[in-house]
């Protein structure tokens, strides 16, 4: 399989199929990134589109210094931060379909909401975007050991938050 970085360089040289391949690879992960972090699916869709547009616009300046995935999520994270700043400091997690969601998903969202914002971001980047500790450290500009300790803290906290929910579900 051709690497993301090679595809991006090919796109830089004018290959449209190369970017279409990249888009196919990251369309859903990036859409999920925004949908899990924003209440509005429309805004999430817009930001997904805006992220890819930013990649297209900056393609001539692209240099494969880091992984393309890190590059893509750094753009996405910047757009998300700007959006949150527009909305509010601590925007709630996506809740547009909470009513229709299964119980387990509801409790997961609730439990995530209880975490510290920075810890929550690290946990979500790891669990949903499947980024490595190194990539998360590069994205958030923190040392890799800090990533590991915060990830551990957030997982233990989340386990504590999910236990009562699981017991409640079992009782009912």
């Amino acid at each position: 399989m051709i690497s993301d970085e090679t595809l991006m360089l090919e796109f830089q040289r004018g290959s449209r199929p190369a970017f279409e391949e990249l888009f196919a690879r990251y369309k859903e992960p990036l859409s999920g990134f925004f949908r899990r972090r924003l209440a509005s699916t429309e805004v999430a869709e817009d930001l997904t589109q805006e992220t890819f547009m930013a990649v297209i616009r900056a393609s001539e300046r692209y240099q494969p210094k880091a992984l393309f995935r890190t590059y893509l999520y750094s753009i996405a994270l910047n757009l998300l931060t700007a959006e949150r700043r527009k909305l509010a400091r601590n925007a709630p997690l996506a809740n547009g379909t909470v009513e229709n969601a299964a119980d387990s998903v509801f409790w997961v969202r609730e439990a995530l909401q209880k975490l510290e914002p920075s810890d929550r971001e690290i946990l979500m980047l790891r669990e949903y975007e499947q980024l490595s500790y190194l990539e998360i450290g590069e994205l958030l500009h923190i040392p890799i050991n800090t990533v590991r300790s915060r990830l551990f803290r957030s997982r233990m906290a989340l386990k504590g938050h999910l236990e009562p929910a699981r017991e409640g579900v079992q009782c009912t």
Partner: protein, 379 residues
Amino acid sequence: MHLETHPFDQEELMAFLDGELAVDRAAAVVSHLDGCQDCQKLAADFRGVSRQLAGWQVEQSGPALANSISAALDTHPGQSRGKLGFLLRRQTWAWAGGLCAAVLIGTVVIAPRLDKQHKLAQSVAFLKAENDGAFQIRDSNASTILETLRSPMIVRTVQLTIAVKDFAKTRSTVDEILKRHKGYIGQSNVSSPVDSGPVLEATLRVPSDQFEAAMAELKALGRVDSESQSGDEVTQQYVDVAARLANARNSEQRLTDLLRERTGKLVDVLAVEKEIERVRGEIERMEAERKNLAKSVDFATLNVKLFEEYRAGFQTPRSKSFRLRNAAIEGYRMTVESVTGAAAFLLAYGPSVLFWSAILFFPVRFIWRRLRHHLLNSL
């Protein structure tokens, strides 16, 4: 969990489950996990949290996203320029300007070398085409190889047979010649056959730039009985090995980067490490091959045979007393040999002869008597 009872902390266990632990450490965690219930429970907890989080699935993006990106690509300058679009890029003009300047400088400063460089470039290009698909010579590697190949690489070998008058003196002169030209003896053998003078057969290695001078001095040692020279060009072979070596090093670098930057399951990490090990083995083998080639070019081989011209000598006749003494000694030796042989025969066969004689004596005597009696009666 305490380090006194567990060889690692909880964070390391989590990192192991995430595929973020070093291979040696991960192997230790695996062996510990097999027998530790506490760690197994903690691992199960981590997995349970991940499983619950994975339950939160979001809807897939709509077709509008793909359409908008497709439209954006249509209007993207890089796409709309068409085949001649590169002419509009500033980078293209910058590169073109730099290239023109380089050509100008090259023409003025290194014009005398152009022809040689061109031939070498052709050689590399030929090899590139020949090995198309198997490897790619990076620009930097190609220039390094070109730098090495300022002239054709030729392995020179000479067979030289020289008849000398004074063998001992000539041998020391050979050593002096080698010392003077910074050469060395690869192998040597001296023999003194009967009815012939002493012979030296040696393999001499002389630096290629000293080869002609050393040859001239060796030929002056005596009468040249035979001489043959051969030269094998190994330029293409050397470029091939060097290019494959550079490619293998690039592969090693990419695999090392992959191991450092990517994370995954333990089996994937081990697979990458195994591949790195294989590539490193290849690199070592090719490096040895490249060095051998370079060495065989740097040093010419002279297979030299030096022999002293044969002079027949006068043989002094042996004295009669000496011959008689030798005959007496030979007679005594033969007597002792025959007595010893007879004694050995008796000792070897005597007991069995006696044994069978004792057994057969009475039956044979009985038969003999009966026969004799019968014959007498018939008369």
